[in-house]
């Protein structure tokens, strides 16, 4: 008989005890402690030592049983106190409580079997509802807008634009495409050699357009490669210092 397997079959020492009590057809309220303890120990002893993690709880119960057994076998004191406590009392209560939940479990299992027949439905939200876009209320949106602010913003935008665009050229309806060559840009940076140091940010801000900035950046990289300049940055996101060699 593979007792190890059998022990695992019991959920714990209480489960095993209940099993023994049932097998012996005795009552929880009056456990024949000697008999049950012996049987319990038989189970425990037959088990290999290896499975300590499941064993510890079973062994603890064995100790409890032996303690109860010892108490019961000891000669009773001559003067019996009126409220003599049965050494089995605590264990009995524990077993009764446990047994209660065993019975409840069985009932709940029946409940779950009938409840399993309630079949629910997956959500099925109509596509029309899923695709629905709430109509916008423009007035509600405009309520958050200050008319004066709108005008101020507009003035700001136009001022920004005026600052950016060469005012003379803007008189012509078209802004000619700016041709920026890498060679020219490298030359114009080198032309600043007398300044010894350059600020990267300043250099960029002096550029008139995005392409000019990009080419400036490329020119700096190229000059680094050819060893004409060195760059240093003391901290992340800080300005880059360009030094001529």
């Amino acid at each position: 008989m593979n007792l190890e397997l059998k022990l695992e079959h019991y959920e714990g020492p209480l489960d095993l005890l209940l099993h023994l009590i049932e097998k012996n057809k005795v009552s929880i309220t009056d456990i024949p402690i000697v008999k049950i303890t012996d049987q319990y120990l038989e189970y425990i002893n037959a088990i290999s030592v290896g499975k300590m993690e499941i064993m510890s709880e079973f062994i603890e119960m064995a100790a409890t049983l032996l303690a109860i057994k010892a108490k019961m076998l000891l000669p009773k004191p001559k003067i019996e106190s009126e409220e003599e406590v049965d050494p089995r009392q605590e264990l009995m209560e524990q077993l009764l409580e446990y047994k209660k939940y065993k019975i409840i479990s069985e009932r709940l299992r029946e409940y779950s079997e009938s409840a399993a027949k309630n079949v629910f439905k997956e959500p099925s939200i109509p596509v029309e509802v899923l695709n629905y876009v709430e109509p916008v209320n423009p007035e509600e949106i405009l309520a958050k807008l200050d008319f004066d602010k709108l005008y101020q913003v507009f003035q700001m935008v136009m001022k920004r634009k005026a600052d950016k665009i060469d005012p003379i050229r803007s008189q012509f309806s078209e802004i000619p495409r700016e041709v920026v060559s890498l060679e020219d840009k490298m030359q114009s940076i080198l032309a600043l050699k007398s300044r010894r140091h350059l600020s990267f940010l300043e250099l960029l801000s002096e550029q008139s357009s995005k392409p000019a900035m990009v080419v400036t950046f490329l020119a700096i990289l190229e000059l680094m490669k050819t060893g004409e300049i060195r760059v240093e940055q003391s901290n992340l996101f800080e300005d880059i210092r360009i030094t001529f060699n």
Partner: protein
């Protein structure tokens, strides 16, 4: 608004959402006061019980959900071979019943009743959504307490935790009977 219309709207809502919807939420969407809606819902529940309906309206702690009538389960099974989602082992159902009756309960307390470590069982029940943490006990170490969820109620077909079977008396009876039988046997032995 006509009762008929409310009934129709509620049916449409419960049908399309699929899940349980709280009375409050329904009342808010239908724009009707809660107590009136509750009465209408009760009427609806009765109507669904009629013979020609295959679905019914169940309530779960103030929330409502549509589901099929159990008597037609066999036909649904024939149509799909949809196996039941998960079967609870003895260990799990035992742990769950302790939590259900003793909630809010700490793990230590569960283990005291079962006489064994219960981490695995409690974790599994949480994973299944049947049990959840219900806060912490205001005592030394502030242990976490556990309780059952709405899924638990649905799983066992209960509409509230109060519907859990009251077993105290039955168990006492049963245990008493066992003791009596034993006494009987002993008497017989003596005689």
């Amino acid at each position: 608004m006509q009762i008929e219309e409310v009934t129709a709207i509620v049916e449409a809502l419960l049908f399309s959402m699929g899940e349980a919807i709280a009375l409050e939420k329904l009342a808010e969407v239908v724009e009707i006061d809660k107590s009136t809606l509750k009465k209408i819902m009760e009427q609806m529940q009765e109507k669904y019980e009629q013979d020609h309906r295959g679905i019914r309206l169940i309530s779960l702690e103030g929330a409502y959900q549509l589901c099929t009538k159990p008597e037609y389960y066999e036909y649904i099974r024939r149509m799909t071979n949809k196996a039941k989602s998960y079967e609870l082992t003895d260990v799990l159902i035992e742990t769950l019943s302790i939590i259900a009756y003793k909630q809010p309960i700490t793990k230590t307390h569960i283990e005291a009743i079962r006489g064994v470590k219960s981490d695995h069982a409690v974790n599994k029940l949480i994973e299944y959504g049947l049990v959840e943490e219900k806060g912490r006990l205001d005592g030394p170490g502030k242990p976490i307490v556990f309780g059952t969820t709405e899924v638990f109620l649905r799983y066992f077909g209960l509409s509230s935790p109060e519907e859990l079977p009251v077993l105290e008396d039955k168990i006492l009876e049963q245990i008493q009977k066992e003791t009596e039988n034993e006494l009987q046997m002993k008497l017989e032995e003596i005689l």
